[in-house]
Structure formats: structure tokens, C-alpha cells
Amino acid sequence: MRLVEIEDLVVSFRQFEGLVQAVRGVSFDLQSGESLGIVGESGSGKSVTCSALLRLLREPPATITAKKLVLGGQDMLRADKRALASIRGRVAAMVFQDPMTSLDPVFTIGHQIVETIVAHKRASKKEALARAIALLKRVEIKNAEAVVRYYPHQLSGGMLQRVMIAMALSCEPAVLVADEPTTALDVTIQAQILQLIKDIQAETGMGLIMITHDLGVIAETVDRVVVMYGGRVMETGPVEAIFAAPLHPYTRALLASIPGQQPGKQRLTEIPGSSPNPANPPSGCPFHPRCPIAEDACRVTTPLLETKATGRAAACIRVPAERVAA
């Protein structure tokens, strides 16, 4: 069953410079139980895409258009406030980048988990609290009975992200959207949190969308990858195939810039240039100013996301379909 269907999503923001398109025609979907990684630099539109899916952006200044924006069978573009509130947290739950600012500082951890449960389920406060404690135990928080009475400032970042995960799981969502869930955490904690998300996904069979700029995170946690750049999808395919043989020159450059691949090499590999200004994007392919194999046509035509091999697609006119198929 398709949990998420996004087709030709465009998100623009009204700003002083005029209309800025942060997402320019993104399409992908997510099957139930599948885990999808969305990878890209900051400003590539990956977070905006997922916020738009849950309709979390303030509209205006944001404007969302799409041929299809479906979450759990519900047309998110047509959903009213009530319908949105009922979908959020129940059909799709979200874990955010910075756990330190994600919780209301004046309410206890327990209160904030309980209010989520009570909003979606027929449960008394007492039942909800018992469930909150069980969830905190599931995310490996010791003395969960005491932690429900804590305020957010009394816990560390890693602990708070566990709380956020517990809260996201509290209504058994069909999809978990994790927006850079480890970026704000210490490196030692990052692996634990990723493992936790992976374990819970395996256990519950929920769908997972993992947004990250960290290819290491992608490699460890997801089945399929969407590579975004300049508000567009550059490439999509199974994670092993993309890591083994990237199709798009941008994906190739991104993989080459992972440090520590060649032992003894001093200088880090980088992609020359900088990511496009969404207020003034380049013509044609958004990557052409930085692309090593760009030709004249790349400056003019915007490449479409085309299937280049089974289960693999790339938006690049320089990547022939046959080359991979053979």
C-alpha cells in the first residue's frame, strides 16, 4: 500500500525578493514498511518537502501546489484544519532536528506525551501516562517513572531525542518522518539514536522517511534514496545501487566528498562552487554551474527525472539509459 504519494510538488515562499521556489517539482512515494532517505545539502528543499507533506508550513508566506499530495490515503491539499490535526501524529509523526528546542519548556515530559495520546486515542489520563512510561522504556530511558515528571531542561540532548521518538511513536503512526534527527547530537549518541529508529521500524513495520545531509546515516538506515539538489530530485534508487554506482554527476560528487575514503590523502574533496540561490536559480539543470560534465544543452533544458534502469531514475541528460541497463 502506498503511504505517501507526492507528484510534482512545488513550494514557494513570498519574500522581499519576490516569489522564492524552495521545492520545484518533486515526486516520490513511500510504500508501507519501506524506509526512504532524502539526502541533500542545506537549502536543497528536503525539509521543506516533508513539512509541506504534513502541511506544517505557514501558508502564506508559503504556497503549496502539487498534482498529488497524499498521506495515508488522505488528500493533504484538500484536508481542512480538523482533518490535518487528526492525520498529524496519528498517520504520520515527525521527529525534528533539535530536541533541545522541540519540547515546551514549561510542561513536563509526561504531560507532553500524554496530551499527544489523548488527542488521538480514547484513553484516560492515567492510561495515557502508563503508556507514556512504557514508551519511554521502549526508547531505553532508565527510570521512566521519574522522567515523566521531569521538565525538558533536566534532560540531555540525546535523552530528549529519545523522548521525541517516544512521543512520535505514541499513536502508532504509519509513517515516521525524521528530519535530521541526529544532526544536533554528539557523535557518540548519533549511532544509538539511529539504531533505535531502525530497530523500532523493524519492530513496528512503519514507513520511515529519513531526511539528512549525512550519507553515512543514509547508508545505515534506509532501503531507498532520493537525492535532492536545488529543490529538485536529482536521482532516486536503492541505497546499495546508488552507493555502488551513482548515476547523476551530483550524486557522484556527493559520494566523492565523504572524507576518509582514500587513506593518507590530506585535502578533503569538495564540490566546487556553492549551492544555488533559490531566489535566483540557474537556468536549465540546477547543478550545471558546478557539474564537471555539463554541456551547452544543460544550461538550457531542465532535465526530467527519467528511469535509467530498473528502480533507478536520474535527472540528467548526460546519463544514457542504456549505459546502466547493459
Binding site: 490535526a85 525534528f96 515546551d104 519548556p105 514549561v106 496530551e115 488527542a119 521525541m164
Partner: protein, 310 residues
């Protein structure tokens, strides 16, 4: 917490003494004395006797010590301009109208301002927001004597709804209360708007939406509670500032309040009254800030509980 209160109380006492010294020095730095009036000149020998009687011939430091010794025994002396009563007695009866009218002004103005600011924040960049901002800006920028005069013109002269001035039966209170309410209303409208917007832009509000809570619950439980913390802390100092009377409002509405004495005591070099009024104001401000700080700590779990339990 107890340690915090004790520390703050001690520093408050120090502040109080420093303030008393500064006021005392500034008061005597103004040239002239209480019996230098030109309309009724006194012979030199009588003036000298009066000065000696009141201890004004002594060195300044001795005068100060004598005065503070009296203050310790709650004896604030006798006002020169009304020798038939004590300073304490004069302040006690003159304060009542100021406290009633100013106090009601704050109690009515502040909630209206909060509602206005909330409506503005929740409808940002709409006509409601612009209207609220206009009202708030006008309330803060139009001087209170202009507001008072306009109120009299509209409600008393044109509409004949209320008496133009006075103290006495509560019908006469309406206009001065409205005049007093303008500043707290405007201040709170601006404060509530910015506090609400500040909270609405916090990441946790997006998280609350992503959890599927209703907008009403998010606003009235989470946003309001977070915004209330800074709003509560300005209430008491504002109350002190307004409920001690305004010379303009009281002069225009002919209210026999405390406000006029702030000016007359300085003009007439009425040292005991001037000193008592200034000390009263400083003490009230010190105490109101202390209570505000304690309230702030009590409402904010980050301060109430410190980092304990991590």
C-alpha cells in the same frame, strides 16, 4: 530559592540606602530653603529661629542621620506645608484616590491590552494587527493630559455621559480611570503581541502542530503559558508607577490624590514630605521588582528547579 530571596532582600536594602542618600543630597542641592518665599518674606532672625527649630542649621550629614533615625522608628516628621498633621497621615489620606483610580486603571487597562496584543499576534499583518498597533502607539505617544482633555471633551462635554471631573461618587471615577488605563493598555498590547509572536516562532510550536494538537489547545495552553511569564513580571512595577498618582490626571480631573504632592513638595522645599514620597516610591519599586523576580522564578521551571535531576 530561599537563599535567592534573602540575597535579593539584602541587595534591596543596600539599594534603598544608596537611594536615600542620593535623594537627600539632591534635595538639599536645590538652591533656596523652605522659608525663602518672596510673597511673604520673613525677617532674618525669625527665619534663623525656624531653621534651628527644624534642625536645618545643622551640617547635612547630621540632618541625614537624624532623619534616618526617625525613619527607623517610622517617624517621617511633619510636612512644612501642613504642620497640623504628620507626613504619614498626609500620605495615607492623599494616596487613597490615587490608589483607587490608578489601580483600577491598571486592572482594567492591562487585560484589555493583553487581549488586543493576543488578537494582533494571532492575526499578524491583518487589519486587526494594524489596528491594535495603532491603538498601542497612540496610547503610548499621546501625552496623558491630552488624552484626559479629549476624554472630558467627548464623554462629558459632547455626550454628557459622565461628570467632567472629581472624586466622590463612583460615576466621577470613570474618566480618570480611562485616562489611567491608556498607558497600561498600550504597554500590554505591545508586550503581549511581541511575547506571543516570540513564542509562536519557537520550534516547539511546530512540534505541537506536528503532534496533531488542535490550534486552540496550542494557543491557549502552550503559547499563552509561555508568553505569560514575561507579561506577569512587568505587572507590579507598572502598578506601582501608576497607582501612586499622576500630577496631570489628578490636576485635570481635580482628584485630591498623591500626584500633586510630588511637585509641590519640591517647589516648597518641603524636605520631610519630599523625602518620604521618594522613599515610598523607591521602596515600592524595590519590593515590586523583588516579587516579580520571585514570581518569574516560580513560573519558570528552568529557574525553579535549576539543572537538578539531569
Amino acid at each position: 530559592m530561599l537563599q535567592f530571596i534573602i540575597r535579593r532582600t539584602l541587595s534591596m536594602l543596600v539599594t534603598f540606602f544608596v537611594v536615600s542618600i542620593i535623594i537627600f543630597m539632591m534635595m538639599h542641592a536645590i538652591p533656596g530653603g523652605p522659608f525663602d518665599g518672596n510673597d511673604m518674606p520673613l525677617p532674618d532672625n525669625i527665619r534663623a529661629r525656624l531653621m534651628a527649630q527644624l534642625g536645618l542649621d545643622k551640617p547635612l550629614w547630621e540632618q541625614y542621620l537624624r532623619y534616618m533615625w526617625g525613619v527607623f522608628h517610622l517617624d517621617f516628621g511633619v510636612p512644612y506645608q501642613s504642620p497640623g498633621e504628620t507626613v504619614m497621615g498626609l500620605i495615607a489620606h492623599a494616596w487613597v484616590p490615587s490608589l483607587v483610580l490608578g489601580g483600577l486603571g491598571v486592572l482594567i487597562g492591562a487585560p484589555i491590552g493583553i487581549l488586543l496584543g493576543m488578537a494582533a499576534a494571532l492575526n499578524r499583518n491583518s487589519w486587526i494587527d494594524y489596528l491594535a498597533s495603532a491603538i498601542a502607539t497612540l496610547g503610548l505617544t499621546i501625552p496623558v493630559f491630552v488624552i484626559s482633555t479629549l476624554l472630558i471633551l467627548v464623554f462629558a462635554v459632547w455626550l454628557h455621559w459622565t461628570p467632567a471631573s472629581g472624586w466622590g461618587e463612583p460615576r466621577r471615577w470613570i474618566l480618570p480611570i480611562m485616562a489611567y488605563a491608556a498607558v497600561p493598555m498600550a504597554t500590554y498590547a505591545r508586550y503581549a503581541r511581541s511575547a506571543m509572536l516570540d513564542t509562536l516562532n519557537k520550534p516547539f510550536v511546530t512540534v505541537l502542530r506536528a503532534k496533531g494538537l488542535s490550534e486552540r489547545r496550542i494557543i491557549f495552553q502552550h503559547v499563552l503559558r509561555n508568553s505569560a511569564i514575561p507579561m506577569i513580571t512587568i505587572f507590579l512595577p507598572m502598578f506601582v508607577g501608576i497607582a501612586t498618582g499622576s500630577i496631570f490626571v489628578e490636576a485635570i480631573f481635580r482628584v485630591p490624590g498623591l500626584g500633586a504632592y510630588f511637585v509641590s513638595s519640591i517647589q516648597k522645599r518641603d524636605y520631610p514630605l519630599e523625602m518620604a514620597l521618594m522613599l515610598l516610591i523607591s521602596a515600592l519599586f524595590c519590593i515590586s521588582y523583588l516579587i516579580s523576580d520571585v514570581l518569574y522564578a516560580l513560573l519558570n521551571p528552568r529557574i525553579r528547579l535549576g539543572g537538578k535531576g539531569r
